[in-house]
Amino acid sequence: MMPASGYALAPAGPQAARLAQVFWAFFAVCAVVYVVVVALLLLGALRPGAAAVDEPARLRLVAAGGVLTALTLVGLLVVSIHGGHQLNPMRGAKDVLTVQVIGRQWWWELRYPGTAPDQEVVTANELHVPVGRPVLLRLVSRDVIHSFWVPELHGKRDLIPGHDSTTYIQADRAGVFRGQCAEFCGTQHAQMGFLVIAEPEEKFQAWLSAQRTPAPPQEALSAEARRGQDLFLHGTCVMCHRVAGTSAGATMGPDLTHVGSRATLAAGSLPNVHDHLRRWVADAQSVKPGSHMPPTPLSAADQDSLVTYLEALR
């Protein structure tokens, strides 16, 4: 079962760990302050005492409270700045993996550059990273402002059109971590999630190589899948989707060359299993109303074939 949320205080990487440290430090101080203030309030309000008020003495206490507040804040400022400075220790490291993250309404396009243009891996909504290696993310938006956020790995960074930016993440243990768009980006902002799958280096390289291969040729497909490919290539799918090794080359929607290998569909909204895939393909609007994928009106048999084909695209 793929995670559907991430917990910022369960860090799986150095940045999230440092952010969590700063959080706990602040939380401890703030909790103490709150208890003190409420205690003072109750002590002061619930015990009526002498009528005479020593104003100068009380004002001195007020001043002391002010000084104490200021000193506490200075301490917290130091903690905050120190925490922020150490946030990207991997800057300048040698083995950085670069991935381009392109935010689009309402999905994530991911591009892993290769040594040559035809070695580039293009996928969607699932960011594979090797454990223990720093990853440099180049963040670009194709339309409105989005925000890349994986709570268990790092704080968020906005994708602002006209202001391409970069951020680092690093997973220090293997696992699957949930990400979500964190800047309101329109109708389906709520269903613009993604997964970060951290795996050991060898597994990651294997995945990367597999992603580089084009779709299986006709001969390798079952009869039903071949029917599905036919429907795909002669239907509306090719207006938006690309499958490497076929004539489908549009880039408006996610690259589907290896859609069968992905864990989720619809930007992390559905597990990638047969029934969900079927439902998504037949009527995406029932899953993500307002998204840019129109319904695909096909007979039940045709839908089965189409889904069989997509499942074969591993």
């Binding site: 079962m1 203030v37 309030l41 015990r47 007020v62 002010g66 309404q105 906005d158």
Partner: protein, 627 residues
């Protein structure tokens, strides 16, 4: 009732008189009532949102409606409730607290209300026709721009901004001039009530902050209507320009909402502690300092936008520093009520509720000031929790206390005390139960502005709990609403000073006659009604057959000259109508503005042209030889 003054200052009867009303007490009440109606609307929107979020994958409210709901909720609460209600309280209470008969510019106050009403109606008419805004109350570009928000939805938003900001700016100018020039003789600037200081600071903040949102929303409207490129990065525009300009306004905006709440606490405490607020100078300096520093923190809303780290660090520092003056005010109040013989009436309960609630929000604010923490919880339910804790805890709780406190003055009847106490406890418990869980939801990855969430997220139970708790909160608020409606007709009658409070508004009958004070008082201390009778004085020599008042000097409030205040007039309504027509038409065609100007000129002439009984004439008139 002083008959001569009543004849001069009364507005007359009938619809015509109602439309031409310029009394600050009436306009203040209109503001407050209208604002609370919008508060109820915003509350209904929130209830629908909470119902939708009570279950994962809920199909009750679809994404488009949900996005319109949270946009309308935020816009309503910020622009149609929070600021206007403070405008209303200020309009009602400031002249009374300083011993004046009206605001300095009575017609401007009427205009301020009408143009606010136009803005509010525009938003809700839009909403009912599915033409209400849907890109958030903060309307980030490019989502709110012409490419991604087709139709008129965001134009409705932009013009609603224009109307409400014009209204606030007009009130601000009115308050500053009234506070500067119409204080009762002897009420030097250091004898002014702390609430009046709060309104003075807030008025200046409005003057310097609101132009930013007017500029920003106008630039957005122009981008959408006539193809300008302020926020089009392909032609040299910049989306960060929107964010800077919006937040340069919007951060002071929250202090504009919050500082009057603090002022109300200073106003309420003396009556229920039988002490003057300790540390008057500290509270004044703290208020002024907060007003200034509030302009220097706005980038803390943009920590995730990738600005240079050094700049971010500066804004962390400033956002932490702003805690100090607010903290000092809290300490002064603690020192005031420390072991005092408290009378636990409803107004005081809401003040105590402020303490335990606002401080949570203040402390999460300290957390959010730290970039490392903010990068995780920005744009999550954690921030939703924070903002509600500071706005409801910091402004609405004192406001509700103020409602219970000043309702007798405004209407002549007391609110039911038992209902008040019940309302308080339900509101306090309901609020905390609704919003505290949201901190956890944010840390567990739940973003803001999402209409649904996945079943496996683990967010279900806290969301359900918050939804149920919000019912308790709604009930608490509803009880106060009902209390107001019933007590208005059948509440126990109130005398002039039912709380034995210390400030001047309690010297006039409840409700105040149209002229407020039969005799303008003179003042010789910070607590005029707690002075010795022998220290009290009155102003004599003002005409009673004209709306004549005494104008005093700025610092010492020494009497300087006499002036005539404006009386009932139709021109504020006409001006608001022209403003409304002009800006609404401008949503559809740029010719709206020149048309508004053309219509506006005769209205301005009508407004300013001398009429009625003139003030003293100049010796030399046109057509005569010089003396």
């Amino acid at each position: 009732m002083n008959d001569a003054l009543a004849a001069t200052w009364s507005p007359g009867r009938g619809l015509s008189a109602w439309l031409r009303e310029v009394r600050h007490t009436e306009i203040g009440k209109r503001f407050v009532v209208t604002a609370f109606l919008f508060f109820a609307a915003g509350g209904i929107e929130a209830a629908l949102m909470r119902l939708q979020l009570s279950r994962p994958a809920n199909a009750m409210v679809g994404p488009d409606l949900y996005n319109r709901l949270f946009t309308t909720h935020g816009s309503t609460m910020m622009f149609l409730f929070a600021v206007p209600v403070m405008q209303g309280v200020g309009t009602f209470i400031v002249p009374l607290m300083i011993g004046a008969r009206n605001l300095a510019f009575p017609r401007l106050s009427a205009y301020s209300y009408y143009v606010y009403l136009v803005g509010g109606l525009l938003l809700y008419v839009g909403f009912s026709f599915r033409a209400g805004p849907d890109a958030g109350w903060f309307a980030y570009t490019p989502l709110s721009g012409p490419a991604f928000s087709p139709g008129k939805r965001m134009d409705v938003w932009a013009q609603m901004i224009t109307f409400t900001e014009l209204s606030a700016l007009a009130t601000a100018v009115n308050l500053v001039v009234t506070i500067f020039k119409l204080r009762a003789p002897g009420m030097s600037i250091t004898r002014m009530p702390l609430l009046v200081w709060a309104f003075l600071v807030v008025a200046f903040m409005i003057i310097f902050a609101m132009p930013a949102v007017v500029v920003a929303s106008s630039c957005l409207a122009l981008d959408r209507l006539v193809g300008t490129h302020f926020f089009n990065h392909a032609e040299g525009g910049d989306h960060l320009l929107w964010q800077h300009m919006f937040w340069f306004f919007a951060h002071p905006e929250v202090y504009i909402i919050f500082l009057p709440g603090l002022g109300m606490i200073s106003a309420i405490l003396p009556a229920f502690t039988r002490r003057r607020v300790l540390g008057y100078d500290v509270v004044v300096l703290a208020t002024v300092t907060t007003g200034f520093v509030a302009f220097g923190v706005w980038v803390h809303h943009m920590f995730a936008a990738g600005l240079p780290q050094l700049g971010d660090s500066y804004f962390t520092a400033s956002s932490l520093i702003i805690t100090i003056p607010t903290g000092l005010q809290l300490f002064c109040w603690l020192a005031t009520l420390w072991r005092a013989p408290l009378r636990f009436a409803t107004p005081l309960l809401f003040v105590l509720g402020f303490f335990v609630t606002f401080v949570v929000g203040g402390l999460t604010g300290v957390m959010l000031a730290a970039v490392p923490i903010d990068l995780q919880v920005h744009d999550t339910m954690f921030v939703v929790a924070h903002l509600h804790y500071v706005l409801i805890g910091g402004a609405v709780f004192p406001l509700l206390g103020g409602v219970y406190y000043w309702f007798p003055k405004a209407t002549g009847r007391l609110l039911n005390e038992r209902a008040g106490k019940l309302s308080f406890w339900l509101t306090l418990l309901g609020f905390n139960a609704t919003f505290f869980p949201l901190h956890m939801l944010g840390l567990h990855g739940m973003p803001r502005r999402v209409y649904t969430y996945l079943p496996g997220s683990g967010w279900h139970h806290l969301n359900l709990f918050a939804t149920v708790a919000s019912g308790v909160l709604a009930l608490g608020v509803l009880i106060t609403f009902l209390n107001v409606i019933v007590s208005h007709r059948r509440g126990q009658r109130a005398e002039a000073n039912p709380w034995q409070a210390d400030s001047l508004e309690w010297a006039v009958p409840s409700p105040p006659p149209p002229y407020n004070f039969a005799d303008i008082p003179t003042v010789s201390s910070r607590a005029p009604l707690w002075e010795e009778p022998s220290a009290r004085g009155v102003v004599t020599g003002l005409a009673t057959d004209q709306r004549e008042v005494v104008v005093t000097t700025l610092l010492d409030a020494a009497p300087d000259h006499r002036t005539i205040l404006a009386g009932p007039s139709i021109w504020p309504l006409a001006a608001a109508a022209v403003t409304g027509v002009g800006f609404i038409v401008s949503m559809f065609t740029p010719w709206g503005l020149p048309v508004a100007v053309a219509l506006g000129v005769p209205v301005m002439v009508g407004w300013f042209w001398p009429k009625g009984r003139p003030t003293p004439l100049h010796a030399e008139q046109p057509g005569t030889k010089a003396a």
